[in-house]
């Protein structure tokens, strides 16, 4: 497959019909393997954009294409399955299911996506692949085993979440403010690990943050305000 991994065209979205649109994006294309930094303050429609890309929200106008598939053409269940197969997410905080262990959290996508489970199995087995990713994120076994994820520090939790987003090699990894609850040093380390792993799997990385200082290491940096015509109205 050639062409952009993500393509938004003429996308409009509003929460309620009488409200003004939150998003109005004439065009956004993200190429395969790209590392895109998307900057926007909170309230600029970032979350909405991610919900559109995840197939959780549907635009009222325009097309959202992910890996060449028009998400609007898929049923709700198919969009959920598509997301499970192809997109890994890391959020700002509370990424983990509190009652599962770190390894079980990392393996969650493999529970909902047969494709990612097969990929992880092919990479050396589910548990060992999860451990490998955790180790790569600087969390070796004795730091996470036998502890509930709630006992991990916020930085450690974010790294578990990153390992989860990467397992089974999804084509797209979307990170939404994953570092904003980390201190500067931890932020750098986290970004480095994220880049490393994305480069290894060839995943396209879409990184969303309000913090412009983080944009340095990315291949391309965009301000949401520049591509979203609705942001002027919202502000």
């Amino acid at each position: 497959m050639t062409g952009p991994v993500i393509r938004l065209e003429g996308v409009q979205f509003r929460w309620r019909p009488q409200e003004s649109p939150v998003l109005d994006i004439p065009l956004l294309e993200v190429e395969r393997g790209e590392r895109l930094f998307l900057q926007g303050p909170s309230g600029s429609g970032k979350s909405t954009l991610l919900n559109l890309l995840g197939g959780i929200a549907r635009p009222e106008a325009g097309r959202v294409e992910v890996l060449g598939r028009d998400l609007a053409a898929l049923s709700g269940a198919a969009r959920d399955a598509f997301r499970a197969d192809h997109v890994g997410f890391v959020f700002q905080m509370f990424n983990l299911v509190p009652y599962l262990s770190a390894v079980e959290n990392v393996l969650l996508p493999c529970r909902f996506s047969a494709r990612r489970r097969r990929a992880a199995e092919a990479a050396g087995g589910l548990a060992s692949e999860a451990r490998r990713l955790l180790g790569h994120m600087g969390l070796n076994e004795n730091r996470v085993d036998g502890r509930t994820v709630a006992e991990l520090s916020v930085g450690q939790q974010q790294r578990v979440a990153a390992a989860r987003a990467m397992i089974g090699g999804p084509e797209i990894v979307i990170a939404d403010e994953p570092t904003s609850s980390l201190d500067a040093e931890a932020q750098e380390r986290f970004l480095a690990l994220l880049f490393d792993e994305a480069a290894r799997t060839g995943a396209t990385l879409l990184f969303v943050s309000h913090d412009t200082r983080l944009g340095g290491g990315f291949g391309r940096a965009l301000a949401l305000a520049d591509i979203n015509r609705a942001s002027a109205v919202a502000a």
Binding site: I56, A84, F112, D176
Partner: protein, 422 residues
């Protein structure tokens, strides 16, 4: 695969909230135990009740109601309004269809226990439960005029042993105000426990009943008429009347014919009832209480399930992030719905099983007490089909009640998506 994941999540999620989930489980288990326990008691009471008398084909008394006749003749509750004359008894006993006839004479008491005048045939023909005959735990049937055979409960409550002397009171009041103290009885035998009113009865011979009333006229002692006990032994103590008669027939088919013959008996107005029919009639009278009991236990289960729904609903708000995470890794809203229904179902199944276990523990603990105090011997057996139906209904109701929080989780996950704005 996905369903296996959801079951795994169900288990881990409940384990994570083991304090609240445990309490909910316990409440459900107690309610299930109550429902099964009430059901068990009801069936056991009914069985014990129906087992009070068996092997007797007809009970005959003066004409009144069949339930009343059953109550005074078998359960020793209430009094006969009229007696049967001795000649009618003899006519019954000599009827060609009658295999055996046992006369019963009631009206006296001993320290709160009824005294029953009868013949030694009573011990041969009275049957209870699955045709169990009366057995002697000690001693033997009455032989002498002043011999008495006491039921197991009488012996236990009053601490009597074979050979003890007892005094029978006239009428059913307490001791002392009209005691036949001049004619003491001797305990000749103690019956083995039966779980029927027999346990609470003092049995003496019909002649003994006559004997203690020889010097009584119209319910009061005649002054100067005191007859020494020794002289009584030589007297003709033919009873003039009896209270009721238990009949056995030669062939089962004869019972109905005989019943009709008795009910149309010319000599005096008599009533013959089939014990099984009368027992059923009496039990039906208690139908309302039975229904009320069932309603209460159902309400208890409903309260338990309500508690469970409350717990799951209350937990949903703090689980919004967890739901959002699951959505982000690919769970469909339907999966979250299923997760909540599974949690409810798991709690219901756990409650049902633990409740069943608690029931057996409670039964084992309560059995000796029920046996000793109420003469109710509970048979501890495997769950009946009805028990399993109740358990199934609880699980089903639990799963259905789980749909309430599940639907809320479903709606919530649709609204929240992958990100919770709190």
């Amino acid at each position: 695969m996905t369903f296996g994941t959801i079951l795994h999540l169900t288990w881990r999620s409940l384990r994570n909230r083991r304090a609240t989930a445990g309490l909910t489980l316990f409440a459900l288990a107690v309610s299930v135990m109550l429902v099964l326990g009430v059901e068990k008691l009801r069936t056991e009471a009914k069985a014990s009740f129906a087992n009070t008398i068996s092997g007797t084909d007809l009970i005959v008394g003066a004409r009144s109601g069949s339930v009343q006749l059953l109550l005074y003749s078998v359960f020793r509750i209430g009094n006969a309004t009229n007696n049967i004359s001795w000649s009618s008894y003899q006519a019954l006993a000599s009827h060609p269809d009658v295999a055996w006839a046992v006369p019963l004479s009631l009206g006296d008491s001993h320290r709160g226990f009824r005294v029953l005048g009868t013949t030694a045939d009573y011990f041969a023909h009275y049957r209870y439960g699955r045709r169990h005959a009366l057995a002697f735990a000690g001693g033997k049937a009455f032989d002498d005029l002043f011999d008495a055979v006491i039921g197991a409960e009488v012996a236990r409550a009053l601490g009597y042993q074979v050979g003890d002397a007892i005094v029978v009171a006239h009428g059913l009041g307490g001791e002392g105000f009209a005691a036949h103290a001049d004619k003491p009885f001797r305990v000749s035998g103690i019956l083995a426990k039966t779980g029927t009113p027999v346990d609470r009865t003092v049995h003496v011979s019909l002649r003994a009943i006559e004997a203690i009333h020889v010097d009584w006229r119209g319910g009061a002692r005649q002054p100067g008429l005191g007859v020494p006990a020794d002289r009584l032994r030589g007297m003709d103590l033919q009873p003039r009347q009896v209270t009721a008669v238990l009949l056995g027939v030669k062939s089962r088919f004869a019972a109905f014919k005989l019943q009709r013959w008795i009910n149309e008996y010319r000599g005096e107005p008599l009533l013959a009832v089939l014990p099984g029919v009368a027992l059923q009639e009496l039990w039906d009278l208690m139908g309302t209480a039975e229904a009320a009991l069932a309603a209460v236990s159902i309400a208890v289960v409903a309260a338990g399930l309500l508690g469970m729904v409350t717990m799951l609903l209350a937990g949903l708000n703090e689980r919004r992030r967890e739901m959002a995470v699951l959505r982000a890794v690919g769970a469909r809203p339907l999966h979250l719905f299923t997760l909540l229904v599974c949690e409810a179902t798991a709690l219901a199944v756990g409650g049902a099983l633990i409740g069943l276990g608690l029931l057996y523990l409670a039964l084992m603990a309560a059995r000796p007490l029920l046996d000793a105090h109420f003469g109710l011997f509970i048979d501890i057996a495997a769950p009946t089909v009805r028990d399993l139906t109740i358990l199934g209904a609880v699980v089903l109701a639990g799963a259905m009640a789980g749909a309430v929080p599940a639907f809320r989780a479903y709606r919530q996950s649709l609204a929240d998506g992958m990100m919770v704005r709190l």
